[in-house]
């Protein structure tokens, strides 16, 4: 049994403008000691889905359905008291901006002691010992002295280390890291990722790493889920995502990362258009308005997340026939632009695939 199992999770918010379908039916699971990367643009629902695991999106205007099982226990229907016992205990979380995520008016030590004593019945002195131990573990020099400092007396990277120490002080089984490196310098980013990697190895903590940066997940994750408009559009082992991506959106993400090993004159290709409205999502495949390979049927048929033939554990929600997708990526990965790739793929006669095409026909 997986440590965390999310099934058909939907988080909808009623607003004055309509219902925002922030998360619209996602499923994933994380095993103990495993790292899952969730990648997507802002507004793809990646943060909302993980906040929901912690029960932090519960509100009057929120409708949450599906299932979130942690260690076999259902969290969606858990009472607020039960959830509180989980938050900061077995599941803990770190956030994007370490400056604003620590209370500016309390000393670091005090904030960590509070975290310890919320879940462990220990004296303040014992809790402080634990806090200092964790600060040392995450690489804060002179932890006992620094526990007496305020957050503004730390640099950005050090603050994120403090956040991580706070998240780890109750030996969580699962750490949810929501864009943990986005607000940091690149060099500091690498340090924080190394730290997460080291902690995962030493403490056997499962990690859900949420980011918009494929470069970040490439370094530390086992599996990757790509989210678009509140859904998972592709899910696979990290190596498969980078070597044989199946979804046009994933192609777009990959081709918009600068790489050292690509030819110097190769241009980065941005994904055209903007993320779709979550109130009135596009009909059919929600990526179709931005997809260079869109066909008429794609505006009507909503693709399901399906296994990629011949690739274990690789799932994709795309209406293009698998053979076409492979032909397209073969062209794109050599640096061809989408138009050229399309021409080659069509010429190769790869249009007659299986699976998705059958559904296209059924729909028309």
């Amino acid at each position: 049994m997986a440590l965390l199992e999310v099934e058909d999770l939907r988080v909808h918010f009623k607003t004055d403008d309509g219902v925002v379908k922030a998360v619209d039916g996602i499923s994933y699971s994380v095993d103990a000691g495993q790292t899952l990367g969730i990648v997507g643009e802002s507004g793809s629902g990646k943060s909302v889905s993980s906040m929901t695991v912690m029960g932090l999106t519960r509100a009057k205007n929120a409708t949450i359905t599906g299932s979130i099982r942690f260690d076999g226990k259902e969290l969606l229907t858990a009472s607020e008291d039960e959830l509180r016992a989980v938050r900061g205990g077995p599941i803990s979380m770190i956030f994007q901006d370490p400056l604003s995520s620590l209370h500016p008016m309390y000393k670091i030590g005090k904030q960590l002691v509070e975290a310890v004593r919320t879940h462990q019945d220990v004296s303040k002195a014992r809790a402080l010992d634990r806090a200092v131990e964790m600060l040392g573990l995450v690489g804060i020099p002179e932890p006992r002295r620094r526990a007496d400092s305020y957050p503004h007396e730390f640099s950005g990277g050090m603050r994120q280390r403090v956040m991580i120490a706070m998240a780890l002080c109750n030996d969580p089984k699962l750490l949810i890291a929501d864009e943990p490196t986005t607000a940091l310098d690149v060099t500091v980013q690498a340090q924080i990722l190394d730290l997460l990697e080291k902690l995962k190895r030493e403490l056997d903590t499962a990690i859900v790493l949420i980011t918009h940066d494929l470069g970040v997940v490439a370094e530390v994750t086992d599996d990757i889920a790509v989210m678009y408009a509140g859904r998972i559009v592709e899910k696979a082992h990290r190596d498969d995502i980078f070597a044989a991506p199946e979804h046009p959106y994933t192609w777009g993400l990959l081709r918009s990362i600068p790489r050292l090993d690509s030819p110097r004159d190769e241009e980065l290709v941005p994904i055209p258009g903007r993320p779709p409205s979550l109130i009135n999502p596009p009909s059919g495949c929600s990526f179709h308005p931005r997809c260079p390979y869109v066909r008429e049927a794609h505006t009507r048929v909503d693709p399901l997340l399906e296994a990629v033939p011949g690739a274990a554990g690789h799932e994709v929600a795309c209406l293009l026939p698998p053979a076409t997708r492979r032909a397209l990526w073969a062209e794109l990965s050599t640096g061809a632009d989408p138009e050229a790739a399309k021409a080659v793929a069509t010429a190769a006669g790869a249009g007659s695939g299986t699976g998705s095409v059958r559904r296209e026909e059924e729909a028309s």
Binding site: M54, L56, E80, R84, A85, V86, R87, G88, G89, S92, M93, F95, D97, S100, S101, L102, H103, P104, M105, Y106, E114, A115, T118, H119, Y150, H152, M163, M166
Partner: protein, 318 residues
């Protein structure tokens, strides 16, 4: 910190000098009545008036008179003499000061507590009936003039003419009975003076707390598994209340110069009442003394608040 306080104290002295100069200028260059004539009594002759002018050095040049006033103030702590009953101003002010202090500090406690409690409830229960009722009441309380509110309060609650007769009547406050024995006479004035301030503080705290509760560190506090009560009171209120302490200090400072309306309606012999009477009678030296006190109050409290702020918010350094 030490040098900061020193610099602020020097500035306070400079400021007080200018306040003194300005009030002296206003009341001496633009006189509303001749002080000598005011003092000369009912059956005055030009001779007595001239004698008084001479005695008060009123014919000296402006600057000479100003520096003589300043000298008395600095070296003898002498605020001059009331022109009407020939009493020195200093004891008048010092007799009135404890009464104003009692009124203002008591009211400040009342409005701070009411403001914080109502503001917090309103913020936590935002959009509820409770919130709407509280904020509408606050709007009424801010809009109601103090003298009107005072008279209504007396009409409803004072023991002599009130419908309910819960509190001692106006004019029963008598400091000579000892400040603490006549404290019940202050209940009604406290409530009246505190009404508008409570409303302002409640609205201020409500909006501060709402803003704070959407901060990232509140999300962190929740993610730690803290009880919502702890999140609001320990993490939210701690940040939301800090700016309000600044406002509180300044408001107290201003009121130390006298809560003129409240003191007048309830017959409390404080600095406000003293200045009110003095202004009506053109008793220049008293007005000047009271104005100086007001300036001193504001300067002291704002310095105190700034120093206090450094302790309340560790990010502030001087």
């Amino acid at each position: 910190m030490g040098t900061y306080i020193l610099r602020r104290l020097l500035w306070t002295v400079v400021l007080l000098f200018f306040v003194t100069a300005l009030t002296f200028l206003i009341f001496n260059v633009l006189p509303t009545a001749d002080p000598a004539k005011l003092r000369a009594g009912r059956n005055q002759t030009p001779e007595t008036v001239a004698a008084i002018r001479d005695q008060l050095n009123l014919d000296d040049p402006f600057l000479t008179r100003f520096f003589s006033y300043l000298g008395d103030l600095l070296f003898h702590f002498d605020f001059g003499t009331s022109v009407l009953n020939d009493e020195p101003v200093r004891p008048l002010i010092f007799e009135a000061l404890p009464n104003t202090l009692m009124l203002v500090l008591g009211a400040a406690v009342v409005w701070f507590v009411i403001g914080v409690v109502i503001g917090t409830i309103s913020a936590v229960k935002r959009g509820s009936i409770l919130d709407r009722v509280a904020m509408t009441t606050a709007l009424v309380a801010i809009s109601a003039p103090v003298y009107w509110l005072g008279l209504v309060a007396l009409y409803l609650f004072s023991s002599d003419l009130g419908v309910l007769g819960l509190f001692p009547a106006a004019g029963t406050y008598d400091a000579s009975r000892g400040v603490f024995t006549s404290i019940s006479s202050l209940f009604l004035p406290w409530l009246v003076l505190a009404a508008a301030f409570s409303a302002i503080y409640a609205r201020l705290l409500r909006s501060n707390l709402l803003e704070t509760m959407s901060e990232d560190y509140i999300r962190t506090a929740r993610a730690k598994g803290l009880k919502e009560r702890t999140v609001v009171f320990k993490h939210g209120l701690r940040s939301a209340i800090t700016p309000i302490i600044t406002v509180l200090g300044l408001d107290i400072g201003i009121l130390l110069g006298g809560a003129i309306l409240t003191e007048s309606v309830f017959g409390i012999p404080g600095i406000g009442r003293l200045s009110f009477d003095a202004i009506q009678r053109n008793d220049i030296d008293i007005v000047q003394g009271a104005t100086l006190f007001l300036a001193l109050g504001v300067c002291t409290m704002s310095l105190l608040v700034d120093v206090l702020y450094a302790f309340l918010d560790p990010r502030v350094r001087y």
